[in-house]
């Protein structure tokens, strides 16, 4: 157990919060556009869970930073370069197959990761993970059931989920990477060692794909950059929509 640098902890809480926030926003985009009304509600529910996580992580990040920034200041007043979410979660929804593929990759990862984070030496991060885990069970179940349904459905549904899985696979390596910040936090017992989770994740994904009659995506060249704030072009559009009001009317409340 080594002493923890406040900047590291702030950075780490931002990474967790931004990932939940951006995926929560993405899922909310389905509201009114889903294949069925039940799925409008499902996507809104999943999105709400993620935004709930984001609120807790960003509030904590603001407290750790100690400069008076609250969850709203961090969410609405930072630009793309300052965002630390995984590239996977900012990828566009595409069709239902792409969204389900993204959800399968991410929820499976988040469940494994939060099971470790729940025993973190940082009490607040552990508490947030424990609170979120029962909800994540539903996310994993939802993504798994839909992967089976699409893979085992028609030729077209199978093609669409397979295309989604193949096109997003290159963004999954990043989930298991690390950098100096996370290495120090792992040494301090705060951050899980993500690389150790990769074989379990791979096994779970392959299990679901085998049951769904889908192929494991071919080897891909990983695309990374989130930990440095290097994003794909899509994040800027999300922020433009999400932040417009607070940028145009600073401090607006209602």
């Amino acid at each position: 157990m080594t002493a923890v640098n406040k900047d590291d902890l702030f950075e780490y809480a931002l990474r967790l919060g931004d990932t939940s926030l951006v995926l929560g926003h993405r899922l909310s985009e389905w509201c009114g556009h889903s294949p069925e009304m039940e799925l409008d509600m499902a996507m809104s529910n999943l999105g709400l869970d993620l935004i709930g996580q984001a609120r807790l992580f960003l509030t904590y990040a603001g407290e750790v930073e100690g400069k008076g920034r609250d969850e709203d200041a961090l969410a609405y007043l930072r630009d793309a370069l300052d965002y630390r979410n995984f590239l996977l979660v900012e990828q566009p929804n595409g069709d239902w197959g792409v969204t389900i593929a993204r959800q399968l990759y991410f929820s499976t990862f988040q469940q494994l990761y939060f099971q470790q984070l729940a025993t973190s030496a940082d009490e607040q991060l552990a508490a947030i993970a424990r609170k979120a885990l029962p909800e994540i069970e539903y996310h994993v179940r939802f993504a798994t059931e839909w992967t089976l349904r699409l893979g085992d459905g028609t030729e077209e549904s199978k093609r669409r989920i397979q295309d989604g899985l193949n096109s997003l696979a290159r963004f999954t390596s990043e989930l298991f990477d690390s950098d100096e910040v996370e290495d120090r936090l792992t040494a301090a017992g705060i951050a899980p060692d993500a690389s150790a989770l990769r074989p379990i994740w791979q096994e779970r994904i392959e299990q679901v794909l085998a049951e769904a009659g889908l192929d494991v995506p071919p080897p891909h060249r990983p695309v990374t950059g989130a930990r440095k704030g290097h994003h794909t072009e899509h994040l800027g559009y999300i922020l433009a929509e999400m932040q417009f009001l607070q940028r145009a009317y600073p401090g607006a409340r209602w």
Partner: protein, 181 residues
């Protein structure tokens, strides 16, 4: 695995002989605050009031826990508690959110379960927070209208984060069920 990570604690009951008269008075006020999304039950029935702390010379402190992380009702509930306490003469009460240990449906009181059923929402069976129940492999949910257990889940998600959508195959009525958590 998750089961070991979810600490179970008993739901605080409305009547508790361990409480001081001052604390009990606050609990009575809280027992008059209805859940904004499911007005048939109170926040005490729902098990989201964790503690009430009364110390001489200090503002009353009420500790509540959200059901779901992103539940939009959380802010409204805080506001409603504040209003109820102010009306009862506790103007400077402090309302604190505590997320750990996480809320589970096991904290819904017996009274709360009965009221949910009467309101047309199938209550979660007590002690149902195991993984098997979550994965739909265990207990059948009884229809709150006719009592039949010939029911099916239409969607895991419904009008609020804490409920799922079901349908009764006997009386054909759709109904909501509280999700095991």
């Amino acid at each position: 695995m998750t089961e070991t990570l979810t600490p179970k604690a008993a739901a605080p009951a409305i009547a508790d002989t361990e409480r001081t008269a001052a604390e009990q008075a606050i609990w009575q006020v809280l027992a008059g605050v209805n859940d904004p999304e499911i007005p048939a039950i109170t926040i005490v029935d729902l098990g989201i009031v964790r503690r009430v702390e009364v110390e001489a010379g200090k503002p009353v402190r009420v500790v509540v826990t959200p059901t779901y992380t992103g539940c939009p009702a959380t802010d409204v509930i805080t506001f409603m508690i504040r209003t109820a306490l102010e009306t009862a003469g506790y103007g400077d009460a402090e309302i604190v959110q505590e997320i750990d240990p996480p809320w589970t449906t096991d904290w819904i009181t017996e009274d709360g379960r009965r009221k949910l059923k009467e309101y047309g929402i199938a209550p979660p069976p007590p002690g149902s927070t195991s993984k098997r129940a979550l994965l739909g492999e265990a207990t059948a949910i009884a229809c709150p209208q006719c009592g039949s257990t010939q029911t099916e889940q239409v969607s895991q998600f419904s009008s609020t984060p804490c409920k799922a959508l079901h349908r009764c195959r006997s009386c054909l009525e759709p109904f909501e069920a509280f999700k095991c958590h």
